[in-house]
């Protein structure tokens, strides 16, 4: 069973890979809209990628009000 820190790490890895941003530039408290330079639709694409990786289903509303990696990882962790 993953810890929240492991989950957060994997989220950062996947986000960096999907949006082609250097992994070293990302940290858990970062705002993903700013750091990845994406809009809310692209954030939904990331959600699909995360679902496939973690093997959980994340309804769109899990993103509502969320804009940093750590909180997003928390939403995933709650469903693991």
């Amino acid at each position: 069973m993953r810890t929240i820190d492991q989950t957060t790490d994997e989220v950062l890895d996947l986000a960096a890979a999907h949006f082609k941003v250097p992994r070293a530039q990302l940290s858990p408290e970062d705002d993903f809209f700013e750091k990845l330079k994406i809009d809310s639709l692209q954030a939904l694409e990331l959600l699909t990628r995360l679902e496939n990786h973690f093997g959980v289903e994340l309804p769109d509303y899990e993103l509502q009000g969320v804009s940093d990696f750590r909180t997003l990882a928390g939403r995933i962790q709650a469903r693991l």
């Binding site: 705002d31 809009d39 694409e45």
Partner: protein
């Protein structure tokens, strides 16, 4: 389609529609690959009437207000019809607002009933202001079996076998109260009448007809002025069908086009750009010779459709592209915010008609719409039938404020006669948008007179909506402006930005700590509401006798002493 001139209310028109096409499919609800519901008009009626009966049994009367806060799904439309059947006034709230904002608007609208999705209700229950909620009847959808819903009723339990009484309304009665912005200090609740909606429907369906078998894909929220009309009232009064997706993931949206053979869809510029990006990425992946062939065919299509679209020809020349959109797409509509001409032209050249338009909630759904005769992507189209549009105080280039007069213009702002009087003057709606009408009758927009922006997702953001997050910032004073309001001559509708103007204390310096504080507060706002730049001002803000900032005067000072590019520091 029904002859809407014969009806006085949405409830009456929908009631007849349900009886006219009982066996036609009216609603499909899909969640990713799973189809959750497929209803005929008869099924829809049988779902809605027990709900209407339960509402009446709970004391809901004609003229009472009922709010809905849900993502797009069949229960949304069923609830709306049940409310209209009872003669109620619908308050469709944006599910993307925060729970605090939901509570504020429920209080402002004095909604007696609320139909709400479980996860949104859970967020509302968690607020301290929850104890002040006055809404008497709350119906929660999709609540897990053992969940605590604070005394609300479950959708599954909220129905009655008694026959509900249909309550007639007149054309001038309020049909809906639609909030055209977030809340901030002053919620703008547009009171739209049955006449507003019926007239809008007549105008739109005369240009873009629906009929039984036509499928509309509803991805914009039904609470919004566009999809309420084009994804509910329009199709239903014509016997057509609406497809609701429970997710907006691009891959499932793409899939829905093909699976449901979609004829029409409305999007906002953000979604359109996303589609454009996806298509361009797919084109770029093609082997070189295929890509060259594709571009040649696009060029041919563009040349042959210069004066008029030719859907049949375009589908023949570019079959793969059209297949990706299901092969039955007649048109996409885009609105809610400014769309770049380049994006519209990209789709037009592929033979995919993207009809852009201009509207505001205060005037119903759409004021102008492009009719492709010919295609003018540098404009927002021509006034719809029944719309009078003129330019107020036009300068020598014919540019001035866009004024609208029509039967679709709202009645008033709820509980705000002052703002109403400032907005509707001598029967003309003052839109606050700046434009001109060219020689062919097309409207072009250049900016905003109002101090506000509209995001690519179609959201209206007023500085008042967001200033509270900066309260406590250790500076002498601050004020938020739309950049276009400060420098109207440099206004870029493609790049609407919010700017925070800061006046420091006497010996204060602009330090890294201060900047971090500002950025931290900015982050607390949802991404689309954030301020993008700061401006340090070297004078005290002009204020009224009651110490309110004189925004107009401050903006004038800033404008006369600075230029947009030199004055701003990105955050």
């Amino acid at each position: 389609m029904l002859d809407l001139t014969k009806y006085d209310s949405l409830g009456a028109a929908l009631r007849d529609a349900l009886d006219r096409w009982p066996d036609e499919v009216c609603l499909i609800e899909s969640d990713r690959e799973r189809e959750r519901a497929r209803l005929t008009y008869k099924d829809f009626k049988n779902s809605a009437l027990p709900l209407a009966a339960a509402l009446q049994a709970s004391g809901f009367q004609a003229g009472d207000r009922a709010a809905i806060i849900m993502t797009n799904q069949s229960k949304w439309l069923i609830s709306a019809y049940a409310i209209f059947y009872c003669g109620g006034v619908l308050v469709p709230l944006d599910y993307k607002l925060t729970a605090v904002e939901h509570l504020q608007l429920l209080a402002h609208s004095t909604a007696r009933v609320l139909v709400v999705e479980y996860h949104l209700w859970r967020a509302i229950m968690g607020q301290t202001a929850f104890t002040e909620l006055r809404t008497k009847t709350v119906v929660v959808t999709e609540a897990p079996p053992n969940a605590d819903i604070a005394g609300a009723q479950r959708w599954e339990d909220f129905h009655c076998n008694s026959v509900p009484e249909f309550r007639e309304r007149t054309r001038k009665d309020a049909a809906c109260i639609v909030y055209s912005s977030g809340t901030g200090g002053r919620p703008k609740g547009c009171v739209l009448t049955h006449e507003n909606y019926l007239e809008q429907c007549i105008a739109l369906t005369s240009l873009y007809p629906f009929w039984p078998g036509v499928r509309y894909l509803s991805i914009l929220p039904t609470n919004h002025a566009i999809d309420f009309m084009v994804g509910f009232i329009g199709p239903f009064t014509c016997g057509a069908a609406v497809v609701h997706l429970r997710t907006l993931r691009p891959e499932f949206v793409r899939d829905a086009f093909t699976r449901y053979r979609i004829a029409y869809v409305s999007v906002v510029p953000m979604v359109l750009k996303n589609l454009e990006r996806g298509l361009k990425a797919r084109f770029a992946e093609l082997p070189r010779h295929k890509r060259a062939m594709l571009h040649a065919l696009i060029a041919v299509n563009r040349a042959l459709t210069k004066s008029r679209p030719n859907l049949k020809l375009s589908r023949m020349l570019l079959p793969q592209v059209h297949k990706a959109f299901g092969g039955e797409l007649r048109a996409m509509f885009v609105g809610g915010a400014f769309t770049e001409p380049g994006t519209l032209q990209f789709f037009y050249d592929l033979g995919i008609l993207v009809g852009n338009g201009y509207g505001l909630t205060e005037a119903g759904t759409a004021v102008t719409l492009n009719d492709f005769r010919p295609f003018r992507p540098d404009t927002v189209g021509k006034p719809l039938p029944g719309m009078e549009v003129r330019i107020g105080d036009a300068n020598e280039d014919g540019i001035g404020e866009v004024l609208v007069r029509s039967k679709t213009v709202m009645s008033h702002y709820l509980n705000d006669p002052e703002m109403t009087a400032e907005t509707i003057i001598d029967g003309w709606l003052h839109t606050g948008d700046v434009g001109r009408i060219d020689a062919t009758g097309h409207l072009q927009l250049f900016g905003r007179k109002k101090n506000m922006i509209v995001t690519a997702g179609g959201k209206n953001i007023y500085p008042e909506d967001i200033e509270t997050v900066f309260e406590g910032l250790p500076v002498k004073e601050f004020c938020v402006f739309a950049a276009g309001y400060l420098w109207p001559n440099d206004a870029k509708l493609t790049e609407e930005k919010l700017v925070i103007v800061v006046r420091l204390e006497a010996a204060q310096q602009w330090t890294d700590d201060l900047r971090r504080d500002l950025v931290g507060r900015n982050r607390r706002l949802p991404d689309f509401k954030r301020v993008s730049a700061s401006l340090l001002w070297d004078r005290d803000f002009p204020r009224t006798a009651s110490l309110k900032i004189k925004r107009g005067e401050l903006a004038q000072q800033i404008r006369s002493r600075t230029s947009r590019d030199s004055a701003l520091t990105p955050l």
